[in-house]
Symmetry: C2
Amino acid sequence: MADKKSITPRQQDYSRWYNEVVQRAEMADYSPVKGTMVIRPYGYTLWENIRDALDRRFKATGHVNAYFPLFIPMSFLEKEAEHVEGFSPELAVVTHAGGKELEEPLVVRPTSETIIGYMYSQWVRSYRDLPILINQWANVVRWEMRTRLFLRTSEFLWQEGHTVHATKEEAIAETLRILDVYADFAINEAAIPVIKGVKSERERFAGAVDSYTIEAMMGNGWALQSGTSHFLGQNFAKAFDIKYLDRDNKLQYGWTTSWGVSTRMVGAIIMAHGDDNGLRLPPRLAPIQVVIVPIWRKAADGKIVLAEANKIVNRLQQAGVRVKLDDRDQYQPGYKFNEWELRGVPLRIELGPRDIAARKVMLSRRDRPGRANKLQIDIDGLAVTVQRLLVDIQAAMLADATRFRDEHTTTVASYDEFKERLANEGGFIRVHWAGNRDDEARIKEETKATIRCFPLETPEGAGRCFYTGRKTDRVAIFARAY
Amino acid sequence: MADKKSITPRQQDYSRWYNEVVQRAEMADYSPVKGTMVIRPYGYTLWENIRDALDRRFKATGHVNAYFPLFIPMSFLEKEAEHVEGFSPELAVVTHAGGKELEEPLVVRPTSETIIGYMYSQWVRSYRDLPILINQWANVVRWEMRTRLFLRTSEFLWQEGHTVHATKEEAIAETLRILDVYADFAINEAAIPVIKGVKSERERFAGAVDSYTIEAMMGNGWALQSGTSHFLGQNFAKAFDIKYLDRDNKLQYGWTTSWGVSTRMVGAIIMAHGDDNGLRLPPRLAPIQVVIVPIWRKAADGKIVLAEANKIVNRLQQAGVRVKLDDRDQYQPGYKFNEWELRGVPLRIELGPRDIAARKVMLSRRDRPGRANKLQIDIDGLAVTVQRLLVDIQAAMLADATRFRDEHTTTVASYDEFKERLANEGGFIRVHWAGNRDDEARIKEETKATIRCFPLETPEGAGRCFYTGRKTDRVAIFARAY
């Protein structure tokens, strides 16, 4: 529960601010198993809302859900050389089961391209079986040494889509369609203005031909990769023998994609929107959109206030608003205000005997704090006002986050300027880029910044690479990243 | 896909019938990892509908969802003596992770009382924190030697509720409330007339004081335990130190419950309703409620028929009906009829040029097969007719299953009669029971039948135990079981 202690300000220690907010808002807790976390009901409800908003979009674009096994034979991972190289340092391995040592160790899935690839090779026979458009909601395990709640844990929840197509063009179109779905979700549900782009070779998914990403800016100017969509070419089709007979009765390899969004997205929402008072949740995803805090001193007033508050709850619920009445009697209103601010509820309604007499309530927006911004609103017609305000708050949060991102995005002309910028303001640095893999590695070593992506939209046109001085069309966004 | 081969009749080999139906209806497939399965999109959509129908009920009774880690330290399981004894033969163990041997092996959760109990001990401080009413949707692993798709696999999906209460009475009330939720779900969504009862000591959950169950009858007269709700007393509270300060500021142990329904429920639906032509799915849970099969010979007719079919699809979708138009051109209508029958779609619409001219369609109910039962229905007002028929089919399926169960439930007066009944008709045998644990074990050894439950409703009153001859109030249901 929220206590009186104030939260560490972001400027003072961003990382500590994050951990305090996550735990005190009861989003998540550390678990006794090193590197894993418990997602508490408030955090899980946010994840359910994320899941539903994504799932609706997947189904609307023709995808269906299925479920594949948690355990993958070690030999499966070894079939795709880059894939096993990328994942083997992070694997958790089951060696014993049912009281015996297993003949072949089983890997706890870090991602499911291999086991799903194997099943697809059983199911695909003819071009008529294609495309296969399957998604899975599941837990995955990647053993991590340095963990952080939601951002990097040994176990996390995610969705992983895996598709097979008859042609390269269709597979690339699918990869980009999903990237659009992710960006649409991030912008319109999470109010996070993500940038769509391609990953550099260094940051590409192990086994992919091309990895696409949506990159978000956090409150400290760092980047967070918030979703990825991979064009896998025929790499996995060849490793797992996914073949089909085409219209001319010739055997062809399929073309595959995979794509995922995880519980990391919860971390993105916390860090893209949170302030020194705690969370600020976008109304479309917030577990509680409106909290009602009743205020009274005399017991007789209490009855009247609670009766009116319950009427308002009913009216808002009927209007499809997720509302909570905080009728706990052991806490003062001021304590409750702080707690619901910490928990990021977009709208607060205060209701006292005098308000009721005047048929009014006081409304406070989480995104526009302070007494001066409070609104006095008629109780009659309240549901419509609330619905309208939630839409306004959603839009205002996206506008705030977009302004913040743009203010913290700069361009530089030289590597010296680049280093100075990173040491001071940080943020996203958009540059022309003609370097290679080694150049990128050297920059990372010297500045800790990496290429987040080559953005799909590059109004800059051609220019000179800030590092090599070579002329190029290519634009990169560099940043420190989680 | 459905092929021309007919399915093995149930009478000939029930177990083979089951496996063929599951695979040919594309509900599930064997995976390359021994004992695990792949839930294919059609089976998974059924599971999603089960999940949503249960989740609605959990939330309506005040529960929230959360997520706890997959891995549990071995030492946690050992804290509750009966619990570890019950589960240790079935554990899968992670011994290596991140390239190193772990200091303490991690168990892949077979159920989560222990890890959740540990977290509750951190979260519960005062009576004001109670009750805790949390549910988790998750995968669990119990290493099984003899597996069967959906019924018994090494990994399965389920929900597990875990609650803490201040008093024994509240915990028992919760256990029974959930049993009611499960029965309500089974009867009204899955159309399966389950019997609510208590488990015998032998069949009790490892670590429980009392285990309650819903027992369903399958098409071969065997029983399937379809959901369980456990009153755990203070066993886990004491093992994990879940304590709270009561109103008088005294430290008390909490009282806990746990309860679960798994993907086994899919198996229950298949076996409670299926016939020799395949699945019969209850409309409320069916992934596809209505399939439209267009019929034509001339290409010009095809256009007209498909245009009308699409109009019907739109109208049914607007009415909230899950409808599919089977417009594949490589298959004949007869082939499609067989396939959708195999897949258990409750209602089929046939539509040809002559039907359209007469503004009629032909409707076939999956639960009332045969030409004689076909209905000719006006296209205008079709949506309302379809909605009404789906309600009728749901009710008819429950009535059919109830009649079947009642016809296959008998009473016997002696152990000889009991053995004879089991050898011939099988089914549920309701008897008075005053035996002990050893008696039950002996009966199981001799007949393979076990006490499925002591039903909560026992209109029989007192009588003599068929086995010991002693007088008793207690009634037991014996049956062969999965």
